[in-house]
């Protein structure tokens, strides 16, 4: 039952990514050229609503569907890792036009060349894990 819930949430996410065109390379290119409001609108609405949701969850100490308190940990404080990591991610995001969610959605939509992107994203993650201690964090 729980498994089905996770898959359903994923299906909703995948459909949203595809139908909003956020999974399209063209939209990412357009966003980084500031030629349309579309992507900014998507992220903006999600963040503003997300902010309201987070505040309400905290204020009313809402519990999960299973009765456990929701505790959202703060991100670990640092500058370097977020800044350098962010830039590297951005370079790839603009080139492949896909972030880690939509790249899976695109495979489902029938774009099998995304399997190359996914394979190398897994490989990139692996290399990070190997050289992690040598990088500034």
């Amino acid at each position: 039952m729980k498994n089905l819930a996770y898959i359903s949430i994923g299906v909703l996410f995948g459909i949203t990514m595809y139908k909003s065109e956020a999974a399209s390379w063209f939209r990412i290119y357009e966003m980084f050229n500031f030629q349309a409001f579309h992507m900014y609108g998507i992220i903006g609405v999600a963040v503003v609503l997300g902010l309201i949701i987070m505040q309400l969850l905290k204020k009313y100490q809402v519990k999960t569907f299973f009765g456990v308190p929701i505790i959202i940990d703060d991100k670990e404080k640092s500058f370097k890792r977020y800044f350098y990591g962010g830039i590297i991610f951005g370079l790839g995001w603009a080139l492949a036009g896909a972030c880690p969610g939509p790249m899976f959605t695109l495979v489902g939509a029938g774009f099998y060349s995304l399997l190359i992107v996914i394979a190398f994203a897994v490989f990139g993650t692996y290399i990070y894990g190997v050289i992690k201690d040598k990088l500034p964090h």
Binding site: A5, Q35, I53, Y82
Partner: protein, 182 residues
């Protein structure tokens, strides 16, 4: 029905993404897709050599299920919920892309010049793009879902730094590197 078949407007999509985040929080989990890439490394056996991947991947099974759902969602959206595969980008963008010889936006969801042709150049581009996404997401501790949506929603300064980084990298790629690549 017509509304569903057309591309969805940004406010509908933004709302649904916030809903996805809310549902995952209510399930007792967090919205973050790039964690799955790490879990995939562990499933492939990376934990035997590298401590970063040495964790019980079954604890992350829920997120893999979300990922499988995202694949199914892509299938459903492309096959049953769309009446055209073109992307409605601005005329300016279409013109700019024509300079690079990319003309497929009106009848294709992704540029067929890059994603539809298995040339050596394209395979190299997709490989480098994927590598940077995977490496960068883990280095930054999250991707668009984890930082730009969840992190910013929770007013996390680290996420703001990461998102600024995402944009700096993206702008550099498109404005500085693209003219050399395409």
């Amino acid at each position: 029905m017509e509304f569903i078949l057309e591309p969805w407007p940004w406010y509908v999509s933004g709302f649904l993404i916030a809903l996805v985040m809310f549902l995952l929080l209510m399930m007792g989990d967090r919205f973050g897709m790039s964690s799955n890439l790490r879990t995939l490394c562990t499933i492939c056996g990376a934990g035997k050599k590298t401590s970063f991947f040495d964790f019980d991947w079954k604890s992350q099974k829920w997120n893999l299920l979300v990922m499988i759902g995202a694949i199914i969602g892509g299938f459903i959206a492309a096959h049953f919920l769309s009446n055209s595969s073109g992307v409605d980008i601005s005329l300016e963008t279409i013109k700019d892309l024509q300079q690079y010889g990319i003309n497929s936006s009106e009848n294709s969801y992704l540029p067929t010049e890059i994603f539809g042709l298995y040339s050596i150049k394209n395979i190299v581009l997709l490989s480098i793009g994927g590598f940077l996404v995977g490496f960068g997401a883990r280095y930054a501790g999250g991707c668009t879902s984890g930082h730009a949506i969840s992190g910013l929603s929770n007013l996390q300064l680290p996420s703001l730094i990461a998102v600024i980084g995402f944009f700096m990298g993206g702008l550099f790629m498109i404005h500085v590197l693209f003219p050399f690549i395409f």
